[in-house]
Amino acid sequence: MNRLLVWYGELATTRKLTSRGLALLAVPLAWIILLLVAPLGAMMAWSAASRSASGDIEWTLSAANFLRLAGFDSFGWTRSYLVILGTTILVSAVTTIVTIALAYPLAFAIARRPPAHRYLWLALIIIPFCTNLVIRTYAWMLLLGSQMPPARLVQWLHFIGPSEALYPSRFAVYIGMVSNSLPFAVLPLYTNVERLDWAIVEASRDLYSGPVRTFMHGILPQTFPGLVTAIILTFIPAMGAFVIPDLLGGGKSWMLGNLIQHQFGVSRDFPFGAAVSLVLTFLTMIGLLVLRRSGDEVSIL
């Protein structure tokens, strides 16, 4: 049905708008679909198959992979898989919260700079990323060693024993994960914060709101799309992380990323790897849906 409507001040028909919109979307969407979505769909079919003796895919369809993920493998029931799942969600959640909490002040600080300097500051945030992740992680391993200042400080405070290091530990994993996620949180937040209508914040102050209320009602709703993007760009890669938990956590606490990598690597159990990836994707999709739903309800000025 070809309606006439006014869209962004332009008198147009839906047909014209649709064709124009599709022209814009066509190439990028086709790229993603052909190169990624289609093969992934094919891979997902693998999750119902099994691993043959030589590591190829055997099409004896079964739900064995999913049962295994729930803990039911050849040796009986084990809670290891649920522990892995729990660890993944916990670490990702804490990482996301801490990262966002640090990203907001940083985004504000950058937005306060004179406009000419802002890209410089943004670039400064990105630059540490030009170093390889593994190198940075090894650097953290060095920094958190037992002879270095941070560990000495914590030893002095008697939180840890006299010549213990700060890694491997869950704390070290968090440090590595947060420092790895910050740029991804700051950038989207910044694009919103830069556009923030400070008059509203001022108004909220004038009405005697404390800083928390001002944030919750003045700043948060305006930066919501950026916040959503920041959460997505932090939480999701965290769910799939494997280098940092391995190096800074001593490889003692597998996360889903490690499990998947093992399947596509050492064990060449692609069907099980596909099954775990499917579950991981499913979990993150749920999270995304929740976020987008609340995102849709935010009315933008």
Binding site: G9, P105, P114, W140, E202, P225
Partner: protein, 283 residues
Amino acid sequence: MRRSPAGSAVKLRAGAGTNRLHPALSALAVGTLVFLYLPLAAVAGMSLNTARFGAAWKGFSLRWYAQLLNNEVVLHAAANTLVLAAVSTAISTVLGTLLAIGLERFPWPRWMRRIVDGVVYVPVVTPDIVFAVGMLLAFEAARQVLGGLRLGMGTMIAAHVTFQISFVALVVGSRLATLGRSVEEAARDLYAGTWHALRRVTLPLIAPGIVSGAMLAFTLSLDDFVISFFTSGPSSVTLPLYIYGSLRRGITPEIHALSTIVFLVTVALVLGLQVLARNPEKE
């Protein structure tokens, strides 16, 4: 940019908030920045250390840098990395922006938005390894259809663009979402044509988003290992691949020197762009 009501004691400068940041928040921001740079400082420090192993300082030395600059393999890898990042960022920024505009600025029915959203998120959500295997499958299929597709720089660029598009689209999209309709509508009211409105109004408004997205894409490409590995050919080694490959023997100070150089070059590039940008063309 809004003006404060007349008579208010508060003055709003262009682009900056009067909202003075609570000193604690300022300190936190600075602290976070320092936190981000600590590993880099450690790496730079180790690259100047005469010692080959361990953190103990054995004396200042530039020999690792000298050794590095004679290393042809590394230089070739560095060139590959830059080319890969630059080309893939250029392509993906364009495509990602098109995607974001196409999605946000048209009256799609809800179901369609959900689907397109979903497709855009797929590269973001997929774990690296799975992504890489998926790409290999795609290239395999392409080889069946087109015949004679070799793994190399081309396939790596294609793979990088695939995940970069989504990130760019997400960042630009969030910027678009916060923009009100008013400015673009006003442009229309003033008889701006579609193309003109796009070029002169929408694009400048979302420029910070595009640049952020491009920077994100560039960074992701520079640091990528897993996907690059699986889609590269014998002579398309990139720096992350080279560095990761050296880890088996333990990280040498040469690698630290390499990382420090990359860092310094990036800083130089950024400063250079700043100088370029300070040219007359005012935003």
